[in-house]
Amino acid sequence: MSTKGNMWFTLSLVLTCTTVLASATAVYYYLHYSSSEGLYADTVAALDSLTYSVRILLEYSNGTQQWYNQTRIPIGWSFMQAANKTTGGKVLGQRYSFGTFVTSINGVTGSGPEFWFAYSWNGKNWVLLEIAPEQYTLRQGEIVAWYLNDGYKTP
């Protein structure tokens, strides 16, 4: 075999080897991916029996929206507890006989005509919650919001 022929033969062999190794690596990662996906599904299924997954929206008066999707909360938690969990305890309020009146979230305080109002998504519209946030128990898959406005708007 000539030197040039030798070179092509060697190159073909080396390329065959890299193909074998690349295919084996692809199979290895695919199997790991499939296995991880199965483990994730199992974990979520186990979590579903112990916790609820809810979505929480924070909307500021300038229109900025902050979504906390797939927030895991223990069954029986109130909107107040869930909001405190997602914001790291940055939901502040004053206690009255009818319940807690939220004055500040994430350091943004309601003032003038604008205050923090709580809403729930009924599947079509945002509905103002006419109950104190610590008395409103969240359900599986519920979408709720805090919106800083004058009370006449919805998120």
């Binding site: 060697t10 074998v20 084996a24 199979v27 199997l31 296995s35």
Partner: protein, 162 residues
């Protein structure tokens, strides 16, 4: 090399024996090596697995025998060059692939009653097949030319070019 799973110098030795001395001596080295390694192995002993690996190890003596018939193998004592090393490395990787497919098919049949599961476990959960093939590529490319040079001194000049 027990701590390094699936990294074995034995395959290179069997292959080199096949190149220099032919299929039968290569196979004898394979069988004897596995009888020692497979029975005194700290990881345990299993007769069906031992039989499988002994038979599968013959892939290396067969590959070595065939390589001995090519210009790469006939120049058993020649100096080490990149082209030759790559051919040996590639031959090692392909022989290892056949070895791994055969042994994993049998262990899959024995453990799970399925060849496909055996092949799936070849690289999962640990990439043992990839480790075996890559390490043998490196061993064959680096160790075999040196082994052949040493072995060539032990055989008549008329059989192998020096």
């Amino acid at each position: 090399m027990i701590p390094l799973s699936n990294v074995k110098l034995m395959d290179s030795i069997v292959f080199a024996t096949g190149v220099v001395f032919g299929y039968v001596p290569g196979t004898l080295v394979a069988v004897l090596s596995w009888l020692i390694y497979g029975t005194l192995n700290p990881l345990g002993f299993s007769a069906p697995v031992l039989a499988t690996v002994v038979l599968s190890e013959m892939v290396y003596s067969c590959g070595g025998h065939l390589m001995g018939k090519t210009s790469y193998g006939r120049r058993a004592g020649s100096s080490v060059d990149m082209n030759r090393s790559l051919v040996f490395g590639s031959a090692g990787l392909l022989c290892t692939l056949i070895y791994d497919l055969a042994t994993n098919a049998v262990s899959g049949l024995l453990a799970y009653n399925s060849i496909w599961v055996g092949w799936a476990t070849m690289n999962f959960p640990f990439p043992l097949g990839i480790i075996h093939e890559s390490s043998n590529f490196l061993f064959f490319a680096s160790v075999i030319p040196i082994l052949l040079k040493v072995m060539a001194k032990a055989v008549p000049t008329s059989t192998y070019e020096r």
